[in-house]
Amino acid sequence: MLRASSEIANIPFDPRAITDPSIDPLLEGGRALIRFTDAAVGSDDPADARSLLVELLGSAAVVDAAAVVANFEMMNRVAEGTGMPVGKGTLARTEEWRTLIGLDRYRHD
């Protein structure tokens, strides 16, 4: 979805930022979004990251970011808890990206 949405919007994006927060994802507010997500999912107080995101992108953006984190906290647990496999077609389409960002480390099979 990330690759497709950035391609269709013709927005440059560096996918390595997904697994390496030292890399700039190149999206507007991208570093701040990564910082906010890390604080929201982790154990750090998200207050500073939240303030920075409001400053850069506005309050509606921080609400959306919190909501997306929440949704994927849900969906990750559904996927992991039910052992959801990734289809062969998706695996083939995403091989280059998975290799680039080291995503295969999370595979169970």
């Binding site: 979805m1 990330l2 949405s5 950035s6 269709i8 919007a9 927005i11 994006f13 930022a17 997904i18 697994t19 999206l27 507007e28 507010g29 991208g30 979004l33 990564i34 906010f36 890390d38 604080a39 929201a40 999912v41 982790g42 998200p46 939240r50 409001v54 992108l57 506005g58 309050s59 953006a61 921080v62 609400v63 959306d64 970011a65 919190a66 909501a67 997306v68 984190v69 929440a70 949704n71 994927f72 906290e73 849900m74 969906m75 990750n76 647990r77 559904v78 996927a79 992991e80 808890g81 039910t82 052992g83 959801m84 496999p85 990734v86 995503l103 295969d104 999370y106 595979r107 169970h108």
Partner: protein, 210 residues
């Protein structure tokens, strides 16, 4: 609804506290295999584990408490062998329901924490026996639990229709409806690529390959 989002300093889309209130009503009510007391204990065990603590109540079998804690704090550590062990004790319908309850309670807590709000008090359980609801069309799948149709994330909880419906109910207000997901140029507070960056980073932090 007033217990939700206390202390939040930014305006929140009204559909979010509304769906949280619906979820708290669902959580407190009898489910397919668990009664209301057990469902609230599942959510409490998952919440405690995310805080690095443990909590067990009198109504839930130990294996279910342990499974809720595992999925609450370390979902990426789940394995087929682990899930099969849990399912062999509590059954696949109860396991599917447990996954759904943990997942949605985690979403509610996450949203509050992200916006600096106090996590809402868990609801008072409603009386009543489990409904026994299940979709008899669910069959063994490529995943670890039975599903209706092929294995896919939107069908993951389909063995228990009310759990699947609850997942879809939360998905729209928090992210996108299943229909909106096809719109790659969707813009709300964030543009779609920004939303997907947050989604992908969250999944990486949870060690979720899917």
């Amino acid at each position: 609804m007033t217990q939700f989002l206390q202390g939040v300093s930014v305006p929140v889309r009204p559909e979010i506290p509304t769906v949280f209130a619906r979820e708290w009503l669902r959580l407190a009510a009898p489910g397919s295999a668990w009664d209301g007391r057990q469902r609230v204990e599942i959510a409490a065990a998952a919440r405690a584990s995310r805080h690095g603590a443990s909590e067990s109540g009198p109504f839930l079998p130990a294996v279910a408490t342990s499974a809720a804690a595992m999925l609450g704090s370390k979902p990426g550590r789940a394995t087929r062998i682990w899930a099969e062990s849990v399912i062999s004790t509590i059954g696949s319908t109860a396991y599917v329901e447990l996954v759904g309850v943990v997942a949605r309670a985690s979403a509610v807590d996450s949203f509050h924490r992200s916006l600096g709000a106090t996590e809402p008090t868990l609801p008072e359980p409603q009386a009543g026996e489990p409904t026994g609801e299940q979709d008899l069309a669910a069959r063994p799948s490529a995943a670890w639990v039975p599903m209706v149709g092929g294995a896919s994330i939107v069908q993951a909880l389909s063995a228990v229709p009310s759990e699947s419906e609850a997942q879809e109910d939360m998905h729209g207000p928090l992210y996108l409806t299943y229909g909106q997901m096809q719109d790659l140029q969707f813009v709300r507070g964030l543009a779609r690529p920004q939303m997907e960056l947050v989604a992908a980073r969250t999944s990486a932090l949870n060690e979720c390959f899917y």
